[in-house]
Amino acid sequence: MKRKSRLLSIILAVVLVFTLTACSAPAKEPAASNEPAANSEPEKKLDYPTKPIELIVGYAAGGGTHLAAELLAPDADKFLGQPLNIVCKPGAGGAVGATYVAKSKPDGYTLLYATVSLPTSLYMSDVEFEQDDFVGVAMCSDIAEVIAVKADAPFSNAKEMVEWAKANPGKLTWGFPGVGSSLHLTGANVMSALGITDVVKEVPFDGTAESVAGVLGGHITAVSCFPTSISEQVKAGQMKVIGIQAKERPADWPDFPTFVEQGYDATLTSWRGVFAPKDTPKEILDYLDKAFGELIATDSYLERATTLGEGRAYKNAAEFTKVYNDACPAIKAVVEKLGLSAK
């Protein structure tokens, strides 16, 4: 008899714990969240957000894109009203995460943090989402890619590189991490703008580390990477930058000459930002647009972003959606030129 009642009380206790856990774990008390102080206009009270918002990152935890998304988390409570849960769903160059968001309920609780690989995967793979399955909410950063070589390379700027490449066809090998990655596309764009696509050789690597090591070890001539990957090596005099692909020299990298100023029209940059699924209600989109705008405008965000080397380049929802939609045909062209098109 005693054993049975003890067992019964254990079961009751466990069920109680279970219920409490299940109820209290996910949502924050709505009363605790306030609308941001700035939003004090007498609007219709929006019943959003009432629980944490999930920001899906389609890349591996700890990687560059994940860390960039984490920049948004610390102040999220203050500006969005609810915490931002960053969930990594890696795979297929961001496509797995994108598919998940495209198929999720457009209620504003599932957002996507994506890069320029989003349009890329549209054309490179048979994905289950379309271009207009997403609307931009906020662009967070816009990073320019560089072409870097070893310090003792026989050329030091774009013109010399073109001459050398044409004089030595097939000898200029350039590396990048992963077929179809943003660095592959931006690098290919540079080669095309320089007019040397046919005389250089692409060498895909499994990651940036290996490709940079490949240049330092003299196994390949050049590498397409982001400035943070080689800035220290350049400072140490072990590598030099042929050019950075941007419309004008970024404030963070004043010493790298752009391809534009060297006379070559290559301006494909790698942006990162927040997207929402297409049928998200307008009021929620406006709310997010404003909230993210304020979040990204803060000094603390800028500080965190600068330390990470990510920088800040903000565009609001309307502008970012335009950037995204303009990028799609441009990327499509590069993908087809590279022969990577899925269709």
Binding site: V14, A25, P26
Partner: protein
């Protein structure tokens, strides 16, 4: 069935699978790259062909040694009986995956645990339910809340 029979069976199955992969799977599943020196199909073909040849050789060697063991091909028999438990086990795994989309992780995992505990021979319904609930909920709490690896919620919202 003696060991040599097992070798023949496994050897021939693997050879057949390799042949299937080589002749059917590779042409259909590997997207070729026109004028590539070493295309995407090179390595898989090489690997599968070598493995197929090796397992074929292995099967042949074993066939030849049948006489030495006083055995013959007629002795090969299959009994699925011995494997029923294993099939059920894997089926439980699949059942979990199918149900979890609807019921959500915590509920499904507790149900799975109860089923498994009985299946593996643990007796006592109260004991099993308690173990299932405590372990299942703790795991869910640890991974979902503490480690923030979220499980997609089911129709009950958890």
């Amino acid at each position: 069935m003696k060991k040599v029979h097992h070798e023949i069976v496994s050897g021939s199955v693997i050879t057949i699978i390799c042949a299937l992969i080589y002749f059917i799977l590779i042409p259909t599943q590997v997207k070729l790259k026109p004028n590539a020196e070493l295309g995407p199909e090179f390595f898989p073909k090489l690997v599968v062909a070598t493995t197929g040849i090796l397992s074929f050789a292995h099967t042949m060697i074993q066939l030849r040694s049948l006489k030495a063991y006083n055995a013959s091909l007629k002795d090969i028999s299959f009994s699925i009986k011995g494997y029923i438990d294993h099939i059920i086990f894997i089926a439980l795994g699949f059942a979990f995956l199918l149900v979890v989309e609807y019921l959500g992780f915590p509920i499904t995992v507790v149900l799975l645990l109860i089923a498994l505990l009985f299946f593996f021979g643990s007796k006592g319904i109260a004991k099993n339910i308690v173990i299932a609930v405590i372990y299942g909920v703790s795991l869910w709490y640890l991974f979902n809340v503490i480690l923030k690896i979220s499980f997609p919620p089911g129709i009950f919202g958890i």
